[in-house]
């Protein structure tokens, strides 16, 4: 063995195919011991520290923090015998170049779709356990002796590096093979074809035994669309070195997907209401003096949340989901109240489960706990799932209002703006009052202008006169 050993990213949890390098705990040149933690990696299942497989000196770090790498990729090289003196000069053969030699697929390598072979979408088919290995089948059947069916199979590309190119739509070799017998396709592909309204008999399969793969189907669906060649982009005449390129991933990516999905599915309407919150602010002050609330942080958001919960009771339709799949509107009798929170990792919307059942004190505790956990970055996924109505407290940034986008699956969201001292007509005189602006976006498929307006008006009525609203509504 060479004294420089390459460490490849292992499958850290039963069938994972990739992991994100979170932090390197060592630098090139560091001396490390066997089993010393050297890198933190986050997979779909857990963030874990990887201990060094060998003692020695870190010779090279192949992958920067923040990068997502496939299982099997070399991430670090360790000089396991640094006492032997400096390394011979000249380029050390990199892991990639060595791997490339081995990876070169033998003619008629493992059939696509079989375990160990390339699967549709550039993935590698595995059962459970040690990760997808693309170095497979260095042996090949002796000519004429292989008992396996040797139907002509398009040589599928064997991915040896992270796949960056979308799989190329297979071009059927002319003349088109004449199919006899039933169409071969796996049940999920059949289901997709049915959903897309595509007759599988019209598609040529490239999978094992000529079966139709998901890629075949998607290629067939995409094919009729006119292919527009991208217009040639003129070389930029300005300095691109001053551009920063951030990979789209993690919370940013999730937020983007959610917002795009919501903005282009649910027809949004936004209404605004400016309200005098002076009495609410006074109530809040009085609550702070009460023994029940002595040791808890109280903010105007608490009363806005309470107002929303009471208003939902009066207008349950705003607390619902448009379920296109089942052709139903699902009206919920519980409120999982989401609160948008800006964290270091990005925007998250954890929710308070069954918030309608909480007392004001419990609601205050839940709000504080939610914010604290979100700030610490420890919000568990379960807290972010199942929201039914959300509040975004943009007022904390000092702005008046906004037109929020609905979290997917929710029919309405309220933006709570800054509370400011403003001139306001109060009892026919201009007084300085504590004023805020509410912005309510709702899904017009479920909520019409009338319902949305009544709901927003009720929230405003509560904030204008909380004691009166409480007595009248509960």
């Amino acid at each position: 063995m060479s004294r420089i050993k390459d460490f490849t990213l292992p499958d850290l949890g039963e069938g994972l195919t990739e992991g994100e390098i979170l932090t390197w705990l060592v630098e090139v040149g560091d001396t490390i011991e066997l089993n010393q933690p050297i890198v933190e990696v986050e997979t779909a299942k857990a963030a874990v520290e990887i201990p060094a497989k060998w003692g020695g000196v870190i010779a090279r770090i192949h992958v920067e923090a923040g990068t997502t790498v496939e299982v099997g990729a070399t991430i670090v090289s360790i000089d396991t015998d640094p006492s032997a003196g400096p390394l011979p000069s000249g380029p050390v053969p990199s892991a990639e170049s060595l791997a490339a030699v081995e990876v070169a697929p033998a003619e008629g390598a493992v059939e696509p779709g079989l375990i160990g072979g390339p699967a549709p979408g550039g993935r590698t088919a595995v059962l459970v356990g040690y990760g997808p290995r693309t170095v497979t089948a260095k042996r090949r059947p002796r000519a004429g002796s292989a008992p396996v069916a040797s139907a002509p199979v398009a040589a599928a590309p064997v991915a040896s590096a992270p796949v960056t190119q979308p799989p190329v739509a297979p071009v059927p070799a002319a003349p088109e093979p004449v199919r006899s017998g039933p169409v071969l396709a796996k049940p999920p592909v059949r289901k997709l074809a049915k959903d897309l309204g595509v007759d599988l008999a019209t598609i040529v399969g490239t999978g094992p035994l000529g079966s139709i793969t998901r890629d075949d189907l998607q290629a067939a669906v995409a094919a009729p669309a006119p292919v527009v060649a991208p217009a040639p982009v003129a070389a930029p005449s300005f300095d691109t070195s001053r551009e920063q390129r951030l990979p789209i991933k993690g919370v940013r990516k999730l937020t983007a997907e959610n917002m795009v999905a919501s903005a282009f599915t649910a027809p949004h309407v936004t209404e605004f209401l400016t309200v005098d919150m002076t009495r609410s602010m006074k109530v809040l002050e009085r609550l702070k003096g009460r023994p029940e609330f002595r040791d808890v942080r109280l903010s105007p958001l608490l009363l806005v949340a309470k107002a929303v919960l009471l208003a939902i009771k009066r207008h349950p339709m705003v607390n619902s989901t448009w379920s296109a799949a089942t052709n139903e509107i699902v009206v919920k009798e519980y409120v999982n109240l989401g609160i948008a929170a800006a964290t270091e990792r990005g925007l998250i919307v954890p929710n308070i489960k069954d918030a309608g059942r909480l007392t004001l004190r419990e609601l205050a505790d839940a709000l504080n706990a939610l914010v604290q956990v979100a700030k610490s970055g420890k919000t568990p996924p379960s807290d972010m799932a199942g929201g039914t109505f959300s509040i975004t407290n943009v007022g904390v940034f000092g702005v008046d209002t906004g037109t929020p986008i609905l979290p997917p699956g929710e029919a309405a969201i309220l933006a709570f703006g800054a509370v400011r001292p403003m001139p306001w007509v109060h009892k026919d005189k201009i007084k300085v009052r504590q004023v805020t602006t509410l912005g309510l976006s709702f899904d017009h498929r479920i909520v019409d202008g009338e319902l949305g307006s009544k709901f927003l008006r009720d929230i405003g009525a509560f904030l204008t006169d909380p004691e009166g609203a409480l007595l009248a509504w509960t």
Binding site: E14, A46, R142
Partner: protein, 378 residues
């Protein structure tokens, strides 16, 4: 909480049998509400032996966890935090007693004198982790949650039918499982059969507070050991981080069983300090303060404190134990890395004790197929 345990990391309401406190203080004896008195008397040599066991199984476990992170094991179920429950109960077994483990009983396996390498074939995916269950009186690891309690019950009923119980030198059976397994039908069936047939079995439940991510209050509304009452046999709760209490109670329960006095349920109240398996991330469902509070109850540090205070062992001994454990762990690492990949044809082995014509034919055909490829065996 429903089962009366509210404080994070607090000792359970209703108490447990404890003979060594987290501060390393010895309790001479404990008498339970049922009037049973538990105590131990060990020689200095035996105390040191228990300490060595605890440190060794923890060190081997740490090596296995590292090997998994380095891609050398497919998965690993760590016993970190549960060493005392495993070593104490394992050492309480007499040579003729039969144990039925889950997949986490590496500590019990060690006390049975089995080469620690044995389970690694299973976790590395190169064999089924098979050792001779009859030779070592230790059944293969059972992955299916709770299934081994039925196997153990059947075995225990069998040795009764064979007339191997009813005397001081009789045989007994111990079945290991976790808190989550108590919600399985199999475990309850095993309780019913053992209770009704008075089987010579000890049900040893390591309550490590979580069934993967599901907390104890989702498994039960009463303390687990009290479940035994409903099935008609006694239940005892012990401090599972106390190797002495674990030994004393398990030894008594096994002796009762071998003398024909039927089953006992032991709930070893402990905590899984690590993940359920290497595929799990416990920080997603446990709070840090809870883990911290359990660190203060570490099974090894309390025994070490006791050994130091009583001047049973000194720094030289502790250093030697650590060094021996390290050497054993490194040799285990070398041996794991050297494990040969299995030949595909070996899948036909060990299906029937004396083979079968159909399998022999399949093996021959499969061998021919493999011979049709170029190159080396694999």
């Amino acid at each position: 909480m429903a089962n009366g345990e509210s404080e994070v990391g607090a000792d359970p309401a209703g108490g447990f049998v404890q003979l060594l406190t987290p501060d390393g203080e010895r309790v001479d004896s404990v008498t339970t509400a049922e009037g049973v008195t538990y105590s131990v008397s060990f020689t200095d040599e035996e105390y040191r032996g228990l300490y060595q066991d605890l440190v060794t199984v923890r060190r081997l476990d740490a090596e296995a966890t590292a090997l998994q992170r380095q891609g050398e094991l497919g998965i690993w179920a760590s016993l970190l935090g549960q060493e005392a429950a495993q070593v104490g109960s394992g050492r309480a077994l007499r040579p003729q007693d039969m144990a039925f483990p889950t997949y986490r009983e590496h500590g019990v396996l060690y006390t049975r004198g089995i080469d620690p390498i044995m389970p690694f074939g299973l976790f590395r995916g190169v064999d089924q982790g098979g050792w001779d269950a009859n030779e070592f009186k230790f059944n293969p690891y059972t992955i299916v949650i709770g299934a081994q309690t039925l196997h153990a019950t059947g075995y225990a009923m069998g040795i009764t039918m064979d007339g191997k119980t009813g005397a001081g030198d009789g045989e007994a059976v111990i079945a290991y499982f976790g808190d989550g397994a108590t919600s399985q039908g199999e475990v309850n069936e095993a309780f019913v059969w053992s209770g009704v047939f008075h089987a010579p079995i000890v049900f040893f439940c390591q309550n490590n507070q979580y069934a993967i991510s599901e907390p104890l209050e989702r498994q039960t509304r009463i303390p687990l050991y009290r479940r035994a009452n409903g099935f008609g046999f006694p239940g005892v709760r012990i401090d599972g981080n106390d190797v002495l209490a674990t030994y004393a109670v398990t030894r008594t329960a096994l002796d009762n069983a071998r003398q024909g006095q039927g089953p006992t349920l032991i709930e070893a109240y402990t905590y899984r300090m690590g993940a359920h398996t290497s595929s799990d991330d416990p920080t997603r469902y446990r709070i840090a303060s809870e883990v911290e509070s359990w660190k203060a109850k570490d099974p090894i540090s309390r025994l070490k404190t006791f050994l130091v205070k009583q001047e049973i062992a000194g720094e030289e001994f502790f250093g030697q134990v650590d060094e021996d454990a390290r050497t054993l762990a490194l040799s285990l690492r070398e041996r794991v890395l050297a494990m040969p990949d299995p030949q595909p044809v070996t899948m036909f082995d060990n299906v029937y004790p004396h083979g079968s014509p159909l399998l022999d034919a399949q093996r021959a055909e499969f061998s021919r197929y493999h011979a049709s490829f170029e190159g080396s065996a694999h």
